[in-house]
Amino acid sequence: MSRRMSKTGRDRLETAIYATISVVSVLVFWHVFSVHMLKNEFILPSPMQVIGGLERLTLGYLGGNLLYHTGSSLLIVITGYLIGLGIGIPLGIMMAWHEPVNRIIGPVVAVLRPIPTPAWIPLAILWFGIGMSGKVFVIILSAMVPCIFNSFTAIRETPRELLDAARTMGAGKRTLLFEVAIPSGLPTIVAGMRIALGNAWATIVAAELVAASAGLGFLILAGYRNFEAPVMAAGIISIAIVGLIMNFAFQWFESRITPWRESEER
């Protein structure tokens, strides 16, 4: 049985303790190394200097405060992500369900899949300029491809017996798709959405490093241009924090949309 280990309160406490120990030791090592050994704040600022950098960002840096830049990145990510899901999931499902669709679109997807999305950024700028639309375009690509792939696999791997069982109970083709194949594949589809979110977040930062006038990637690049390592580090930390929050939000979403899987962990 592939039953996962049960999560008791005791286990949770242990996890929290280990997490704290690991984060604190990295901070201590970082502090000791930067303040007492390297002593070069242009290359590696100390944790305290980074907090100072974060403080500067919150007060406002190059056209807006931290919230403004975060919001700018998030707006693009969410727009592109949702469009990417909206195209990718139905497309993957259609490809799996209708063989002709797969024959036509499958080869295109097979070619797109191994291209790391950042490779598209210069071309997107050429096509759409450095504004929002070029970035939304690459985010759509970054989110769409894993969604197509996972949705396709999810539907193709619907257990034959479940389809057979539904057919013996009188289910037609539509019912088989919407009430058997899609719910059966939902965990895999949602896993694709999770990969897509990570991709999208990585891609927006990359895109803002190339060309932008706002956003967290833009902040990092600005910090680099102004020789302000604390600003760069603060930008990285902001990216990490937003990424973490997105992950938690996603976990919550996952447990809501596939509640039957949580019961495995009892």
Partner: protein
Amino acid sequence: MAMEQDTGNDLSFQNLGMVYEARTGSVAALDGFSFDVRANEFITIVGPSGCGKSTLLQVTSGLQAPTSGKALLNGRSITGPSPDKAMVFQSFSLFPWKPVKQNIEFGLRVSGMSRAERDELVDYYIGVTGLTGFENHYPRQLSGGMQQRVAIARALAMRPRVLLMDEPFAALDAMNRTLMQEELVRIWSEHKPTVLFITHSVEEAVYMADKVLVMTKRPGRLKCTIDINAEIGCAHWRTQPIDEVLLVPKFQELRHRVWEEVRAEIEVNA
């Protein structure tokens, strides 16, 4: 369309043959299987593994078309799956994303039954199969025995004309298996659908059946039929607990006879 003769039977298999085309060559799973089943009969089928028992059920359910011969239900050729032929699979085949109640109600909802009617039927079968209190559990939260009850309730709720069961108790432990055998007989006797029940257990076959069919080794044909009712001559023993029936000399004799027939088929291979 070819004229189909009505044999007056519920199910009729006429010279049924099935050849699978696989990459490694073709496999004849059934060859010349013929048998007529009367309405309300409880038929158990035994035979060496790989002799085509599951194939026979797949053809009866309409999930697969035979490559030769035909299968008739009520005089009509079986052309596809339909709710009047319910199937209980060995691996339960429950929908993991649906709680017990929704699993059982699936077929009724698909067939367009109103909510009130559905509720009444589902509640009835939840009660009959001993699932009361588990309506909102997901299949994974249930033991194997309970999951199999859900699968049976789901099939029965369709009130099928034919109930097809492919080694339904194979995954259960010995105690649950005995309980389920007795309960199935009890539940079945309420509406008496025609049953085709595949099993590896000769004891189970002889305990529950009106007739036991023994199949030959692959390609499967009917080897012999043992008419349990005729052999017993009086009231069927399946209404009594198994542990008592096990002591009945006639039961032991029939069990022995069926086993000898099956064993001969297995030993031909060896």
